[in-house]
Symmetry: C2
Subunit: 437 residues, 2 copies
């Protein structure tokens, strides 16, 4: 049974604070091991990658077989059904259309001194996408990472995806092909992150690494951050559903379970002002858990981290949700737009009962790589912006420099940075025929 809270109960506040602070992931301290792996890859390059892949993935590679060949890719992709391909293509088209709207505009304007100011956006040259192997190898995540990069204009886009025991997911390769990925390396773990960051003889380094991974991958991304850009350090994910009593309890139960089935450390929270509805949803979850394929995982998540909170009203529900800052937020209420306006922190909002979160995982259009573990307080989901950077522009005229230069000199002086001031003064001198000397 999940936690059952009511905001009108004494003791609600400490219970809610405990829920917020709940440690859901027992991340092993792999930092020392990861440091050694990165050092090994920097030191021995391809051979380190090959040795570590043999050790962790039980797969023997050579520099020539680190990447899938076009023939291998074609052979794997041929195994995909027409229906699966069509679904992936629909997803890709919708994700592309959404992300194309994110392309920001350059700007340049003249200010009142006559100076030109502005900025310009340019893409990252090369990006590497980490795709987990095994159970969590999701073709949808390939699309969600690769398409924003391509829309941004990234020239070279590579995927690293471990294939333990040589097992390949054909849909991952197809998704990579649909999204326009250039090369897929069959390597994973911290060693793959190190190879992307530092390069080896066979693998060119990239400038930005995105994509989810296990504790080793997360630790490696944290370590190479600065040498390359990274997207975020993903934590256990969560869904929060705010629902009024006018919903089918089974729909809401399935939405909660669609998060819970990801991972035993996932968290599903229902907030509703209707206590009877809350009970009905809990009963519906129990019923679905009897037959769900991943009932062991979903049941553990729901039991250990699930929560149902009964509030006085929807405003109170929104306020609690803002304290959670959930990755996914469903607003299954009569006027979802009005309630949405009260939400200040959430990765993605799904408006109304006809928008199950699962639509956003696949075909909605918005990205499904979202800030987890309450990080929606300060970060956003993956977007085209993650593969672009802004260069600021400034162009003074002699008149503009004459207007604002003296203030710059003054501030340089106050910071004891003489050359800064002199670089302005030398120009003003020319301009004013020595007046400033």
């Amino acid at each position: 049974m999940p936690q059952f809270l009511n905001t009108q109960d004494a003791g609600f506040e400490p219970a809610f604070v405990a829920l917020l602070g709940m440690k859901r992931e027992d991340s092993p301290d792999v930092d020392a091991a990861v440091a050694a792996i990165i050092a090994d890859v920097r030191d021995r390059g391809d051979q380190a990658i090959i040795d570590l892949t043999a050790k962790f993935d039980r797969l023997t590679l050579t520099p020539e077989t680190l990447a899938f060949t076009p023939a291998q890719i074609a052979a794997e992709i041929a195994k995909v059904s027409a229906e699966d391909r069509a679904a992936l293509e629909l997803a890709a088209a919708r994700v592309r259309a959404y992300h194309e709207r994110q392309l920001p505009e350059d700007a340049m304007w003249q200010d009142e001194t006559g100076a030109m100011l502005g900025w310009r956006w340019t893409p990252v040259s090369a990006a590497g996408l980490y795709v987990p192997g095994g159970l969590a190898s999701y073709p949808s995540s390939v699309l969600m990472n690769a398409i924003p990069a391509k829309v941004a204009g990234v020239e070279r886009l590579v995927v690293v995806c471990p294939t333990p025991d040589g097992v390949v997911n054909p849909l991952v390769l197809l998704a990579a092909q649909i999204a326009g990925v250039d090369t897929v390396y069959r390597i994973g773990g911290a060693q793959a992150v190190a190879a992307l960051a530092y390069g080896t003889k066979t693998i060119c380094p990239v400038d930005k690494i995105t994509g989810p991974g296990n504790a080793f991958v997360a630790a490696a991304k944290r370590r190479v951050f600065g040498k390359v850009g990274i997207d975020m350090i993903a934590g256990p994910s969560e869904i929060l559903v705010i629902a009024d009593g006018d919903n089918d309890p089974d729909w809401i139960a399935l939405d909660l379970l669609s998060q819970a089935e990801h991972d035993e450390s996932a968290q599903s929270i229902l907030i509703t002002p209707d206590a009877a509805f809350a009970k009905a949803v809990v009963a519906a979850v129990e019923k679905r858990l009897e037959t769900l394929e991943r009932r062991a995982i979903a049941g553990a998540s729901w039991r250990d981290f699930g929560a149902v909170i009964v509030t006085r009203d929807l405003d109170e529900a929104a306020a609690l949700s803002n304290r959670v800052a959930p990755e996914h937020l469903e607003l299954c209420v009569a006027d979802p737009d009005a309630l949405s306006a009260k939400i200040t922190h959430a990765g993605a909002i799904f408006l109304g009962g006809w928008t199950p979160e699962a639509i956003g995982d696949y075909v909605g259009g918005p990205n499904h790589v979202l800030p987890t573990a309450r990080s929606a307080r300060f970060s956003s989901g993956l977007s085209v912006m993650d593969f672009l950077k802004r260069t600021t522009l400034a162009k003074m005229t002699p008149e503009a420099l004459a207007t604002i230069g003296p203030a710059a000199e003054r501030l340089a002086q106050s910071e004891s940075l003489e050359a800064h001031g002199l670089s302005v003064r030398a120009r003003l001198n020319r301009l004013n025929g020595g007046k400033y000397e």
Copy 2:
């Protein structure tokens, strides 16, 4: 003497690669010490902060004196000259005007299925700004960090700034006041970062931490990243000047020195197609180094990390600059706009000989917190965006769900996520009177 390279010399390429790979900062490995400090602050809160401040800053504080009082601030600010205040106010107004243009727009549109899609921007609730103490305590950096936060709409903005031996920089306090900072704590180091990330009894935690700092601060920011957002891990900074022969060598020399005087590990690079001009600049630098106040620092930087590169033409200069991806790039050429169009990686571009980099440090308008150590390949300078986050929005209609839902079901199935598929199917069943059952 700086390195002197010519792209037409044999051996240029390896020499340039060595220049790119030059390790300019001997960052001490303070990670273990920082981990202990963070653990101490999480464990003992205010008392840890007070003990560490006594130890590192030789300053005795109490929970009541961790923050400057309004009276203290007023007393310090009264020491500032009218000229300095006016210069700071001019800088603040220009920085604010520039950053107000960065506010991104929300979007919402209907797609061809009838679904509504879009996104919405909201500010981070609370931000903390690290301001170094001592020599590198720059009031201009207070403006550059705090103003974008205020423009973004951050509700609570605090500064941490160590005051070793109790020494306070009045201009830092004035800059904080002008920028709208709510509270200034006189603490620093890893302990201040830990307090901002985790909170103590006296110090409320924030959601985002920005601002430069020493190796301890950088290591602490890396460690708390994920718990809170951070801006970037700053490295040693650099300027690259591309100049044709039609410039005053002394102007360019001063621009190079204005970077070199920051730090012995700063880097100043001149790229020019005019070998005689290159020599004239080197001579002008030497001459300025005879009298410059910070000649010891600037001289060491120029000697150890400075470089002058003579190229065939300006196109080659732009290509080399793109490989450097400099923090600051001056284009002192006849047509700076045309050359700027060829620049793919740079933090900030200063167009034309009348735009010394120092203008951008203070009063230009663009931010002076910029990606260092070649990270302009994948990141941008500080902006309003650093204090905002995007929530994606999706709202299906029954018809939209009927159109794209089946593809989501299919993909959920292929990823063995049954509840995902069922959450879509349950709704389609209602819609189609059981047709999908």
